[in-house]
């Protein structure tokens, strides 16, 4: 099975980031890491590939040209990566991202596309569905369990009350929730091998996109303003001296819930 895994490189959530005051973009430090939620997609991809003697190819858009996060996913065991690495992509919205990824994945060929349900930094949560519509295939979304056999894919789809068992024929797009599997940690050998694995870097033009089709120019949403939300009035912070629970009781009484 030929498996495509969408992987996003994001600023390390542990480091604070800024907004560009002119364009209101999130200013990304050069150092970027693999979005934690994508580790689950990579792991599922590796498991399905191992079971089917298949391959795992990573797909990522990288306006800043960084590869650090991609190397992390390669170190987990993915075979190769296709990175659309082009400054023209800066400012691309979800719709543009989906078009670019669809073009790159179609060019490479695939049986299954795996993505996270949403990125940690942008969380639009609709790119995989858009991708599926562009590719004209089913979108098995919010999977907390995935199995593939005989050209069909079966998932447990998370619902508010439990889960549905949903099935579709391949090729298809699947999105996986965090917690679907335990992502493996790269081994030392994996990290060394990752440096040698093929990474194909493409420009937007290589995929047939003009300068106006992508980036901020091609995106249909324009950020007009960013203003701080008035913070909640500062509350009372107390160190527990063994009696702090009394303060909670007081609040519960005042709110008339006890």
């Amino acid at each position: 099975m030929k498996i495509a895994v969408c992987a996003k490189q994001i600023p390390d959530p542990a480091t604070p980031y800024d907004l560009d005051p002119d364009h209101h973009w999130v200013v990304r430090p050069d150092d970027q890491v693999l979005d934690d939620t994508d580790r689950y997609g990579v792991e599922i991809g590796l498991q399905l590939a191992e079971a089917s003697e298949g391959t795992v190819t990573l797909f990522s858009m990288s306006p800043a040209g960084t590869l650090q996060g991609i190397r992390q996913a390669l170190a987990m065991g993915a075979d190769k990566a296709v990175v659309i690495s082009d400054p023209a992509l800066k400012g691309s919205d979800a719709a543009v991202t989906a078009k670019v990824l669809a073009a790159a994945i179609e060019r490479e060929g695939y049986d299954l596309v795996i993505a996270g349900t949403e990125s940690t930094d942008g969380y639009t949560g609709v790119v995989p569905q858009m991708l599926a519509e562009h590719l004209g295939v089913p979108s098995l979304t919010f999977a907390k369990h995935v199995e593939a056999a005989d050209g069909t894919l079966r998932i447990h789809r998370q619902t508010p009350e439990g889960y549905d068992v949903v099935e579709a024929a391949l090729p298809a797009v699947v999105t996986v929730t965090a917690g679907v599997v335990e992502p493996r940690y790269p081994t030392f050998k994996g990290i060394m091998q990752a440096k040698q694995k093929p990474v194909e870097e493409l420009s937007a033009a290589d995929l047939g996109f003009g300068a106006d089709d992508v980036g901020a120019a091609g995106s249909g949403t324009v950020v007009e303003g960013v203003t701080p939300v008035p913070a909640r009035q500062a509350g009372e912070i107390v160190e527990d001296d063994g009696e702090a629970y009394l303060k909670i009781l007081e609040i519960l009484e005042r709110a008339k819930v006890i």
Binding site: A95, Y123, P138, V223, G225, A231, G242, I248
Partner: protein, 315 residues
């Protein structure tokens, strides 16, 4: 002009978000509902009472009808002002596919939609609700917008039974079938409607000790919530998750026990009337939204609180 509201049926009734979105749809134009489900007089009357003028009903049978609903909507919304979706899983599936089909942008996580110089603009909050962002939609109508839960209050207008139009299931190559449905039994009050919510995070230690949270919620007649980390770790089911990818709650009192306050969690609870946080780490972000913050060990504070509530109950 028409404004469409997407509505997935939940247990024979319209999704709560759809009723909320009808409030906004009425303000923008004439509300039409695209209803996915079997439907019935009860569901359609409820939609009419909230202002829906017409309901287009797609009965999916055993399909997961993401592609079908997107195709049917694409045929209907050409002259509409906007198509409004909630954050439900099918909502997001159809919104994405519809946008790709119509080659339109999607504005997600919206809290409001308004018209500005003839164009649509949406308001959202980012970085855990600390920054408000206004985005202009630079594309022809209809605007495709995905809203966060509880962005608007659901309001009855006294409208009658709407006109119901049957939508035949469109042909598609992207067929998905639902083979089985599993529901996990739920106890206690509804998380999204409860007056008191007690939520636990990783600071509780393990699934066994998470019971403290359940015990306290029970004593207060409240609902139990949890962070994504706790759900991912398998201590409690996803139905209890509060946050960006879970439920949005606005109770009278929210008690956060052993929760550090990741952005993904804060967006789901920061609009609670009163927030009480208990955490060991004085620098935990949860304290920035707390009305009462207790720097201490949940395993010390919660048992004492539980004990005190018990003796009140007996006294």
């Amino acid at each position: 002009m028409k404004v469409w509201v997407f509505c997935e049926e939940r247990h024979g009734a319209p999704s709560p978000t759809a009723l909320e979105l009808l409030t906004k749809a009425r303000e923008l134009g004439e509300p039409s509902v695209f209803y996915v489900g079997e439907g019935g007089d009860g569901a359609f009357t409820a939609l009419g009472a909230h202002g829906a003028v017409e309901v287009h009903r797609l009965d999916p049978g055993d399909r997961l009808p993401a592609a079908e609903a997107a195709a049917a909507l694409a045929d209907r919304v050409g002259d509409a002002r906007a198509v409004l979706f909630g954050m439900g899983n099918l909502d997001r599936d159809v919104a994405g596919r519809l946008a790709a089909r119509l080659d339109r942008p999607v504005a997600a996580n919206a809290l409001d939609l308004f018209v500005e110089d003839g164009a649509h603009a949406v308001a959202t909050e980012i970085l855990g609700g600390t920054l408000r962002v206004v985005k202009r939609i630079a594309a022809d109508d209809p605007a495709i917008v995905v809203f966060r839960p509880k962005a608007f209050p659901a309001e009855e207008t006294g409208g009658g039974m709407p006109e119901v139009v049957e939508v035949p299931l469109p042909e598609t190559d992207a067929v998905m079938r639902v083979l089985e449905r599993h529901e996990e039994p739920r106890e206690g009050p509804d998380l999204e409607a409860a007056e008191v919510v007690v939520s636990g995070g990783r600071g509780l230690g393990d699934a066994e000790r998470f019971r403290l949270v359940e015990e306290l919620a029970d004593l207060l007649g409240g609902a139990v919530g949890a962070t994504r980390a706790v759900v991912d770790a398998g201590w409690v089911p996803y139905a209890l998750q509060v946050g960006q990818t879970g439920k949005t709650v606005k109770p009278k009192v929210y008690i956060a026990a052993g929760i550090s306050g990741a952005m993904q969690h804060l967006v789901g609870m920061k609009d609670s009337s009163i927030i009480v946080a208990i955490n060991k780490d004085p620098d935990a972000p949860i304290f920035s939204v707390a009305d009462l913050g207790i720097v201490g060990d949940v395993h010390q504070v919660l048992p004492k609180l539980i004990e005190a509530l018990r003796s009140r109950g007996e006294g």
